[in-house]
Symmetry: C2
Subunit: 404 residues, 2 copies
């Protein structure tokens, strides 16, 4: 498996585009994205578990009942959530897009991200759908990625090449994250394309397996969004023998998808609103997989711990505190905590008690922009990893006045 360029257009048969259509006032910011496959794809999605759901999610669920799709359309600047006519608008967007592409509107995945509870005007879509479709290009992934960004500061766009049975295959992806990021069984917006030939059932299976270990292990601010969605479209153009069971090919595809989703997850965590640091929490030797995950996610979600990381403060007591209040099994007296970065590593807690450490060295380690928190529970054989970011002045600034 190797990293390649091209994002969602790296797999065979995909084109993408991103334009400014006028949903946002800032004309230099793209606000509409489109990804299209030349041929019909097997497609699957996971969605937010928030009971307040964006209208596009209801429409996409309906469209994916048959497990097939040809295109994804997504706007930023407005979440189309808690609006009286949200589903009508989402359906109308699909209708406009289908007409312009000459496809069936039921084969379109639709998504929105932005402010909740403000009516979404159809006019910008009407006026610019032709322009959007004309802009479709095999190098259009970056434009599409820009089109879905909100307060994101960097593009989250990745692709890999790998082999199944001697056949070259690809996966490409774009995602947006930043704030309201604490996925639960689903994710922020992430769109994944692949030319792998895989059955609908196996595709649906694999994305749930992957999401639990990647997007669901990220937290920026503990707030699970109303519009989280991961969609995968696989068009089969790589021409491998169709994956119809959990055989070696399935696992090769799963590993590649896991790798891409992990890159997206880390990218989203590192670009969390106001973030200056990527925090990676590895929990080792837990007595179950679930316990490992719960501990890792609790630490990565703690506001106090996140603020300490912003301040480069090796305040490991807050890590113990966050382990202490989570719903997991472990023995407090066995917990070991090490802080690490490219500048080195330092043991700060052993047997659940403070371990004398050099504050200057800790400061040096915590001054890097990627920090690892290594928690050894000495209580079993399971491990998990979670990703997050620090809590900064800029998070408050960005969210103190998001709508204006």
């Amino acid at each position: 498996m190797k990293d390649i360029q091209g994002g969602v257009c790296a797999p065979l048969g995909f084109k993408a585009a991103g334009i400014h259509c006028g949903i946002r006032k800032n004309k230099s910011k793209k606000d509409l994205a489109l990804i299209v496959s030349d041929v019909m794809c097997h497609a699957a999605s996971t969605y937010t578990l928030n009971k307040v759901k964006g209208a596009p999610i209801a429409v996409t669920k309906q469209h994916l009942l048959n497990g097939e799709a040809k295109a994804i359309i997504c706007n930023s600047g407005n979440a189309n959530t808690c609006n009286p006519n949200g589903e009508d608008i989402a359906n109308a967007v699909c209708g406009l897009c289908a007409k312009e592409l000459g496809i069936n509107e039921n084969d379109i995945i639709v998504a929105s991200t932005g402010v909740i509870g403000q009516p979404l005007d159809l006019v910008p879509f009407e006026n610019h759908m032709n322009e959007l479709v004309q802009a479709l290009h095999s190098q259009g992934s970056s434009d599409a990625c820009e089109g879905i960004m909100t307060t994101d500061t960097v593009k989250k766009e990745y692709a890999v090449e790998f082999e199944i049975d001697g056949v070259t295959c690809h996966i490409g992806a774009i995602a947006k994250g930043s704030g309201m990021i604490h996925p639960n069984m689903a994710t922020m917006l992430a769109f994944v394309t692949s030319d792998v030939n895989i059955s609908k059932e196996m595709l649906n299976e694999v994305i749930h397996e992957v999401v639990d270990d990647t997007f669901n292990m990220v937290s920026v601010d503990g707030d699970t969004s109303t519009n989280d969605m991961l969609s995968v479209m696989a068009n089969g153009l790589a021409n491998n023998k169709e994956i119809v069971q959990k055989d070696e090919s399935y696992h090769i595809f799963k590993d590649a998808l896991m790798y891409i989703c992990e890159l997206l997850s880390k990218g989203i965590a590192k670009d969390g609103e106001g973030a200056t640091k990527l925090l990676t929490c590895h929990v080792n030797n837990a007595c179950s997989q679930k316990d490992a995950k719960v501990v890792a996610k609790s630490v990565i979600t703690s506001s106090l711990f996140k603020a300490a990381m912003f301040g480069k403060d090796a305040n490991w007591g807050r890590i113990l505190c966050a382990i202490g209040y989570c719903e997991a099994s472990y023995d407090v007296d066995k917990i070991e905590v090490t802080l690490a970065s490219s500048a080195g590593s330092i043991l700060v807690c052993q047997n659940g008690r403070g371990y004398p450490f050099d504050e200057d060295q800790a400061l040096k380690i915590l001054s890097e922009d990627e920090i690892e928190i290594l928690i050894d529970l000495h209580d079993g054989n399971y491990q998990a990893t979670a990703w997050g970011c620090d809590l900064t002045y800029d998070y408050v600034k960005i969210n103190g006045d998001y709508r204006t």
Copy 2:
């Protein structure tokens, strides 16, 4: 029932003191507090559910096995948590205090608050226990309150007078809060005194009933501390007929205790680390008490919502989002949200959808320093209230470098 002065010394037979003994470097900050009753009290406590618990909690639990206590000693500046010899130190502090007071060390409630995982030196206690006991005074409540404060900026000290069967009774209280505040079945540190005559069983019963509706409904930052504790000592000197069952007298006492604990809870929320606003979330017409509480607490805990309140931004979509991801039953399409303050009130969401409102009026309402969020679920007859504060630059500043 009427508000009175005197804090924990307002009930008959209580004295208190607070001094600087040297746990903190800043000599102008008191760091040791003592509350003593002239006679033996019935006493009960609730404790943090964090599995990482401060050493003083283990010692206090042991001392309260017989439901009796005469004194409370509490230091700030060091939590005495995750230390190898924490319990030995907590026992030694009780020993020193008992000797100086001439009482049994098993009759002392001990508590600590401050940094986790730094050894607590016994020397300051040894050198200043005599001074502390000499300072005991019937007007000493404020000094004791100062002695337990950490990043608190105002004293949380209250007292009430009320009648049971024609007998005048009192309850007094002090508390500290500020950060790491998200109590679970227990609380930050709160010490309550009373001269009411009440059985051990009824005292234990009433504090659990009251805590669930008061301290457990506060969140500053979602982090449940390792040292949370509410202790109540009732010495019976008011001379009412002993309360031994849930009769009218029990309910009068419960109402007074509820009133005091609600004042402390609001005080702690308003003085949350970096806070500029007290946020009160009332949930009405839920289909159960639990659903009402879960919704209220989810809203009050959302970082995104808290940051919006700091920015005076009527971003009600974040309220809907926080309702959506909590574990409660309701009908999204019936939710109504009103924002209110002393400057007026404004409906922002009806039937789960945006309701057109005047942004200028919303700004005026949100510019006050006490904001009410009124959520009507139109789904039953239960209600609950939760308290919190906004998320500000100063929260990040305070917690970015707490230890130094």
